[in-house]
Amino acid sequence: MAAVVRRYTKNPVGAHYGLGDWLLQRLTAVVMLLYTLLLLACLLMEPPSTYAAWKALFSGAMFRLGTMLFVVALLYHAWVGMRDILMDYLRAASLRLVLEAAVGLALLFYLVWAASILWGPR
């Protein structure tokens, strides 16, 4: 039996999440695009001028889920974008890592905050 010799073809640099991040940034953009159009349509058809109407808009289960999906997409999108900006402009690894951690923490905080606004006690 002949041995199969496999050449090592993997690029020996990078952490290999670049393409996935790039693709997810596009996918999350499309999610946000659709939500933006839907929200604009909702707001234009029935402008919520009173508290009751505003609250009613955010009481629908589908609207809450859609909004949460938008928030999750936005946070991932913002993570990729902010990391790209930090990687491009900050050469000092220490400062970059500190700011990346701050961005990550802020995004996690936004996530919990958004969920508590949508489903928390009113």
Partner: protein
């Protein structure tokens, strides 16, 4: 590691007005994205929390947003979102190789600036 290449002369033209439209669009895409992350997103979440929280909170924010200065700032935020929105669509089209020639990318960049401003004006017209 190989030896460092000979240092080459550098010339940075950092004047934004000298950038071609596509370059200006790109840097605005970054700036608007960063500003949307902070402070626009937390302000929006805070507004959502207060306006959904109680009738008084809703009334307070409605009064707050009726001040002309606040409206102008809100329009600024809306412009950042619109610009980021339309510039993003342009990038998605470029990704699938639509409009990648030099002329069409210049035209589409100018169109994105126009679309962002028109959308902002339309929303501003609805708000006032």
């Amino acid at each position: 590691m190989s030896a460092h290449p000979r240092p080459r002369p550098k010339y940075y033209d950092l004047n934004l007005a000298h950038l071609p439209p596509a370059g200006l669009l790109s840097i605005f895409h970054r700036v608007s994205g960063a500003l949307l992350f902070f402070p626009i997103l937390p302000l929006l979440l805070y507004a959502l929390q207060v306006t959904l929280g109680s009738e008084q909170g809703f009334a307070r924010w409605r009064d707050f947003l009726s001040q002309p200065v606040v409206k102008v700032m809100l329009l600024g935020a809306i412009w950042f979102y619109s610009h980021h929105f339309f510039a993003g669509i342009r990038y998605l089209l470029l990704d699938v190789h639509v409009g990648i020639s030099k002329e069409s990318s210049r035209t589409s960049a100018l169109a994105v600036f126009a679309a962002g401003l028109v959308a902002t004006l339309l929303i501003g017209w609805r708000l006032w």
